[in-house]
Amino acid sequence: MGMYNEKVMDHFTNPRNVGTLEDSNAIGTFGSPVCGDMMEISLKIENNVIVDAKFRTFGCGSAIASSSVATEMVKGKTLEEALKLTNQNFVDELGGLPGAKIHCSVLSEQAIKTAIYKYAKENGLDLPGLEGFDPDAEFDHDEE
């Protein structure tokens, strides 16, 4: 038995939405100092709704798979809805990750938040779910 279930492996081997959107209006990048992982997400936002999303990720299997499901899951969501997504949602959508790999999915949550944060800032929006969020602050990562 490998580390990952079939769904994770599917998203890892055939990641959805790879690349950078040409017509993106919200880009977020996030790096996790513990795993050495890095994710860039580019969103296209229209009328408060995420109509398209693409990603690039430097990271292990679970980082790539959660990036992939994350881009799928944000599409069609309002910004408020997208901000409510946590890494646990991605893990659940993937049907679970090994305990030691749960943290890798945080990357996607944070990258999405960062993209929306920048978009909100540029557009003068005040969104619930972004209080206290600062993508430039040190990211406190629980080591297990």
Binding site: G2, Y4, M9, F12, T13, P15, V18, G19, T29, G31, P33, C35, G36, D37, M38, M39, E40, R56, T57, F58, G59, C60, G61, A63, I64, A100, E138
Partner: protein, 396 residues
Amino acid sequence: MKPIYLDYSATTPVKQEVLDAMIPYFTEKFGNPSSLYGIGFASKDAIELARSQVAALIGAEDREIYFTSGGTEADNWAVIGAARSRKNKGNHIITTKIEHHALLHTCKALEKEGFVVTYLDVDDNGIVDPAQVKNAITDQTILISVMFANNEIGTLQPIAEIGAIAKENGILFHSDGVQALGNVDIDVRSAGVDMMSMSAHKIYGPKGIGALYIRKGVVIENILFGGGQENKRRAGTENLTGIVGFGKAAELAGKNLNDHIKQVRDLRNYFLEQIRSRIDDISVNGDLEKRLPGNLNLIFNYVEGEALLLHLDIRGICASTGSACSSASFSPSHVLSAMGLPLEKVYSSLRFTVGDFTTKEDLDLVVASLVEIVSKLRELSPFDKDHRMQSTQVLR
């Protein structure tokens, strides 16, 4: 699909001849080596034969070989045993930043007992400078421990020079020889080591058996107490079949040493050439000359090592991001970090080790897979060289 195994530094398969030598000692010749009857004596004889086989591989005398449960126990015993037995003489230990965790974590444990440990840097090529060893010596120094060959990047350390320095200063010298054994022509006398750790599962023997060479006359404390086995220095019913297998593996390693080295080195070099010619933006970690014959540690820029591993695994190819025991712990290699490699290159590094069962055809298949996987992962990567994002700016 039979896997293509390129992780001989992590562990090796047991050779059929080795297994054949072991088999009778499971079910028939199973006597306790301490027992006073025929099958007990036969077990004892088998152990003594194995001891002489291991001794012969490193130019030691039989009685200088003490069997342990592996390389980890050998490292622990050497360092803890030496430190505790010499604590009245001093409390200072010198080692390097690129030792195996079996050594480093043991040193950390000794620090809690009041010992002071100097962890020496290595140069960009992953090699320790003997002059630094010399400079680190104080009047409190009781032990120097420098590995023979590194497990991640395969670099060979200047053991004889360090041995001479240790001797000049009357300091005990231990070397972790786990990776070097069977891959380098080792002679403990000319290397000037007082103690050397070994492990069977790196030389086509079974897992869970190793040995510590302790030069005759050198006294260190025991770390396991009980029966009088191993000349009263290592208690516990002997791992009879493990010892027999280790002995046989050592015999084979000695007999084939030069051929093994040449064959494995040629394959490794061929592999590197092929990769170099077909994938751009790669580089080698560690000195290519002063190196274990089978080791190749490469940076695949912009690509994360673990994702690469996983893609290789899907194709039945076995490689490693570093030492096996830390693969599962996902922390950046302390060896590559000690060489001054920036973090994103550490995370882009992969170790391949070729061994006795590797074929050119295997390597060709692996190269083809690598070409495909690396390009796929680079497409996925935010670090592509054409891409605007700079890694160093984001990785904190």
